[in-house]
């Protein structure tokens, strides 16, 4: 068995092993910096741990006295499975593992040790087939070239085209394939070889399935979409709720869309509530549609004249979370548990149809009209129903997406309210995490100008408030079709305009 093809085969497996080894290291490093942030730190600790683990592996190889070939096959299979699945495992377990670092470094250690075993074992397998100087020269040549290849492939091909999860499955498959090849070349054809071949094929199938299902795995693990660590993730029947936190910044994402950042949500919510409500010193009853986070309610309760707030949010999971999670309750000042507040979990359209109460002010804080189902909540049909629960002289305010990014969408909301018989006062504000954001204040009759802001605001004062109602030329009114159930013009504007920018809110 000292023929040329066998040697070549074994040497080329050095090449593959080296590529795989480096890819796992890069995957772990990249993942760690994705998930834990601070990439220089993460990368260097990952590389350090990985290299020392390889050292441990090489050292351990000294304890192997015989059966190098069999052990080599086993190691290949193990590296293939552990390394191949590592990225998927890390992604999936991130939001759930009690200590993610233990898991991360545990995996890195394991893969490192196994990879460290490979080259010494291979050297020993090949030692009778080559002269020592040739052996060392060739093995290390292939090793280094493999590493070079990996370092080029990784940023240029693997990350952009396959993604981390799929790449690591792919290299797992290569490792197992090397194991099978070795089995074929060095195997004795006995029972052990046969059963190991079976195992190898099963592993190939498993990794192949992982490769094929990578998209689903990624969709499952939020982490792929978030740059900050996920501290809470749950699916309600209506949406995927994810909270992330980094350096004191708490963010809520619904179905992957940012709802607020605790750093600047006060700007958004003060601007949502006060420019309208502060002009109704005698308002008592307020309706909030959407806004299950209780942040708009927090602002409403700053007005002493308010006696009763009804909050209608579709998702019980949302209102439960914002009543029970400590950080969130701190953020909304426990507004949802205020004796003045009634929380109703229902869909706004049918709730309005059945509602008999009248309100002095209404705050409509729905998700952006990014699909046809949500677009129905911004139609003339909806505003007509809303109009029926407003007391004479009352007003409502609608969050209306960004007049900067989606200028036509914003003015379409305004136009729709006008088509439903409202007079409107559109305005906008700058929220750093969102960008320029818009609202439309609407009422049946013009509302008095007198503004009485409550104390304790961090952002709004009379001057700021006045400036918000002025639109510079690049955000100014454009003609649009009112949004109706039977034309969904808003969703069409919104899609067209938001698709031009890469980052969605």
């Amino acid at each position: 068995m000292t023929d040329r093809p066998t040697r070549l085969l074994l040497l080329s497996s050095v090449f593959v092993i080296a590529t795989c080894g480096l890819v796992y290291e890069l995957v772990a490093g990249t993942l760690a910096s994705y998930l834990l942030g601070d990439s220089v730190m993460q990368f260097s600790t990952v590389i350090g741990v990985y290299l020392s683990a390889m050292g441990v592996g090489s050292w351990l190889s000294g304890f192997v006295v015989r059966g190098e070939a069999r052990l080599f096959v086993r190691v290949q299979f193990l590296v293939g499975v552990v390394g191949g699945c590592s990225a998927a495992l890390l992604f999936l377990l991130f939001a759930h593992a009690a200590s993610f670092r233990v898991l991360l470094y545990g995996l890195i250690l394991l893969v490192g040790i196994l990879v460290g075993l490979e080259i010494p074992l291979l050297l020993r397998i090949l030692k009778d087939r080559l002269e020592f100087k040739d052996l060392v020269a060739r093995v290390f040549t292939f090793d280094y070239i493999g590493a070079l290849l990996a370092s080029l492939l990784f940023p240029l091909v693997l990350v952009p085209h396959l993604g981390l999860v799929r790449s690591s499955f792919l290299f797992g498959i290569l490792n197992v394939a090397v194991g099978l090849l070795t089995l074929r070349v060095l195997g004795d054809g006995g029972r052990w070889s046969a059963s190991m071949r079976g195992v190898g094929i099963l592993l190939l199938a498993l990794l192949g399935a992982g490769f094929a299902a990578s998209g689903k795995i990624m969709a499952w693990s939020e982490q792929s979409t978030f740059s900050d660590p996920v501290i809470f993730a749950r699916s309600s029947p209506y949406q995927r709720i994810v909270l992330t936190r980094a350096a004191g910044d708490l963010r809520l994402h619904l179905n992957g869309n940012l709802q607020f950042s605790s750093r600047d949500e006060y700007r958004y919510h003060e601007a949502l509530v006060h420019p309208g409500l502060a002009r109704f010193p005698r308002a008592r009853d307020v309706l909030v549609l959407g806004g299950g986070d209780g942040l708009a309610v927090r602002e409403i309760l700053r007005h002493d004249n308010i006696r009763h707030v009804v909050l209608v949010d579709l998702d019980p999971e949302m209102t439960r979370l914002f009543r029970s999670q400590e950080l969130l309750v701190k953020l909304n000042a426990g507004s949802l548990d205020s004796p003045k507040v009634t929380v109703v979990n229902a869909d706004a359209f049918s709730w309005l149809a059945a509602a008999t109460n009248q309100f002095d002010f209404a705050v409509v804080d729905f998700p952006d009209p990014s699909n046809f189902s949500l677009g129905k909540l911004y139609t003339t049909a909806f505003y007509e129903r809303l109009g029926r629960v407003l007391a004479p002289g009352a007003a409502c305010v609608i969050q209306s997406t960004s007049p900067m990014v989606a200028r036509r969408a914003f003015w379409c909301v305004d136009q729709t309210l006008r088509a439903s018989g409202f007079v409107t006062e559109p305005y906008h504000v700058y929220v750093p995490s969102f960008g320029e954001w818009g609202y439309v204040l609407a009422s049946r009759e013009p509302i008095p100008d007198h503004l009485r802001l409550p104390p304790g605001l961090r952002f709004l004062d009379a001057d700021t408030c006045a400036s918000m109602f002025r639109f510079p030329p690049d955000m100014d009114r454009v003609p649009t079709e009112p949004n109706r159930l039977n034309n969904q013009s808003l969703v069409r504007y919104f899609e067209e305009e938001w698709s031009k920018v890469t980052t969605t809110p």
Binding site: A209, L314, S350, F366, N371, L485, N486, N487, Q488
Partner: protein, 539 residues
């Protein structure tokens, strides 16, 4: 309705589970339930074969309406409006509705047949009147244009077409066709637009709804003697994409393709609608989760307790200056002689023929062509995914013999899409109607399900995993088919004339199976009855 519950195990998935697929997290045991739904066929066969016993008792009302489709319900409504409240409506099925029947389950209501009405224009005050009464039209704006209740207008997006592996918006083909095809389609549509405004030499619109309000200009009526396909060829409309579209429209409205329906009927489809609304384009439609079942329901409410279901009328004979209907009441297990001063037969003409006598059963009344249909309602855990344009109300697949499906939850106002019901339509027009009826009667539920899922798979690869139940209904005589001659050879007018005290009202007398025809025919028959009874009283 009788539903046979069965379980259909998807062989592929079951096998995978058997091989330990579940160990790998593959969803095991993908199964769904459902069955054949529909007319009590035993009752139908007994009607055809004359197997009902002679009446043993008798009842009397002033007027009898036989058949509870839209035409029968419309006749009953009009009688009430004319102050004739002493009537009874007899319907074969447990509930009135006919081709506008609907069903419901935990997920949604859904149609079994008719599912929409185009916005009416000036030609059909009967329809606008009803729409005002039912709150579909809420008011008129300053220009006098009707304002429709927005929830009832078909929500956007209305239509999409699956072609070359992806969904496009709208039904007029756009993808994968060249400039020549595109301009052929544009030319055709421009021609139809022109015909929509055209008038005949008698000053009436060339094509109107109802059919009888169209012009009698001989040059136009001549179009009823050739097929629509022949007309298209003659006019140089040879583009494949255009002909697909024209054929689809014919099959959708008449249950038969452009090579079977008359050119007049085909053109009528494109050129008869002049709807108008203040808050929607004129070509919009109104629809509900239950389709026209909503309209049938509202009309039933108006009828109160005067409708009898499971009542098979099997003979209608003149008696003592009035009429007598022999009725098998399945619930009582007995036949009853219903006497009345007049009767409205709101049933298809071939059914009416069997009721009124052997000479009619062999005559022209029995000679219409009726297209058989298969309709299935698929209850799904969620909307199936597909490439391209998002789900619309009407979803058509170009390379399919079906007409695609309508989404029952499309009109839902709930902001998060959830489980849904799809109503899948297929005219059984590949073989002649009689053969198709026979083949369909023998076909089992499993076979229909397999065919439906195979048809939907290219557009929705994952659909089989989402199915919770499939119910299938076959309409043996779904709709009167306007083959050349049927509309304008004079037969319809003759068949519509009353036989003494027996009046006829069914959409097939209008020449086309449409809600508007049913409403107008029923209303007209009721007015004729009123006039006849008033004349008698005066004499």
């Amino acid at each position: 309705m009788n539903t046979r519950r069965r379980t259909f195990l998807k062989a592929g998935i079951a096998a995978a589970a058997g091989l330990g697929g579940s160990a790998f997290g593959v969803r095991a045991g993908g199964s769904f339930t459902g069955g054949m739904v529909g007319v009590d066929s035993a009752l139908g066969h007994r009607f055809r074969d004359g197997g009902f016993p002679e009446p043993t008792s008798s009842e009397a009302t002033e007027i009898l309406v036989v058949g509870g489709g839209i035409s029968g319900l419309a006749a009953a409504r009009e009688l009430d409006r004319l102050g004739l409240r002493d009537w009874k409506l007899l319907e074969l099925e447990p509930e009135a509705g006919g081709n506008a029947a609907s069903g419901r389950n935990a997920v949604s209501e859904f149609p079994w047949g008719a599912h929409y009405v185009p916005l009416p224009g000036h030609d059909t005050p009967e329809v606008t009147g009803l729409f005002e009464e039912l709150g579909i039209i809420v008011r008129r704006d300053a220009r006098g244009l009707p304002v429709y209740r927005e929830e009832f207008l078909c929500h956007d997006p209305q239509e999409r077409l699956f072609v070359d592996g992806r969904w496009q918006e709208g039904l007029v083909p756009q993808f994968g066709i060249g400039a020549a095809e595109r301009s052929a389609i544009a030319a055709f549509l421009a021609r139809m637009e022109e015909l929509r405004g055209a008038r005949g030499n008698d000053g009436k619109p060339a094509f109107a709804v109802p059919v009888d309000r169209s012009s009698r200009d001989p040059a136009l009526l001549a179009l009823d003697r050739e097929t629509f396909a022949a007309w298209l060829t003659r006019e140089g409309f040879t583009s494949t994409a255009l002909r697909w579209y024209a054929d689809y429209c014919c099959r959708d409205d008449f249950g038969a393709g452009m090579d079977r329906v008359s050119a007049w009927a085909g053109l009528h489809y494109f050129a008869s609608r002049r709807g108008e609304a203040a808050n929607a384009p004129g070509h919009s439609v109104v629809t509900w989760p239950s389709g026209n079942g909503w309209l049938a329901g509202r009309l039933r409410e108006g009828a109160g307790g005067r409708c009898s279901g499971r009542a098979a009328v099997f003979r209608v004979v003149p008696a003592d200056g009035g009429v007598e209907a022999w009725v098998w009441h399945a619930d009582r297990g007995a036949s009853v002689r219903h006497r009345a001063k007049a009767v409205v037969l709101a049933v298809p003409q071939f059914v009416a023929a069997r009721m009124i006598g052997p000479e009619e059963a062999a005559g022209p009344r029995a000679g219409g062509v009726y297209a058989p249909w298969m309709v299935a309602n698929l209850t799904l855990r969620s909307m199936p995914l597909g490439r391209g344009a998002p789900p619309a109300w009407d979803n058509v697949m170009r390379d399919s013999r079906s007409l695609g499906y309508v989404v029952a939850t499309h009109q839902s106002l709930h902001p998060v899409p959830r489980a849904t019901v799809l109503t899948y339509y297929q005219p059984l027009d590949e073989i002649p109607p009689a053969e198709a009826r026979r083949a369909a009667a023998e076909r089992g539920w499993e076979s229909w399900c397999a065919q439906i899922l195979a048809d939907l798979r290219p557009a929705h690869p994952g659909i089989a995993d989402l199915v919770e139940r499939i119910d299938v209904r076959v309409w043996g005589h779904g709709m009167a088919c306007p083959v050349p001659g049927w509309i304008w050879d004079g037969r319809r007018e003759r068949l519509a004339r009353p036989h003494g005290r027996v009046h006829f009202a069914h959409s097939d007398l209008g020449g086309m199976s449409l809600f508007e025809e049913a409403l107008v025919q029923g209303t007209r028959a009721a007015r004729d009855v009123a006039a006849q009874l008033a004349g008698k009283a005066g004499a």
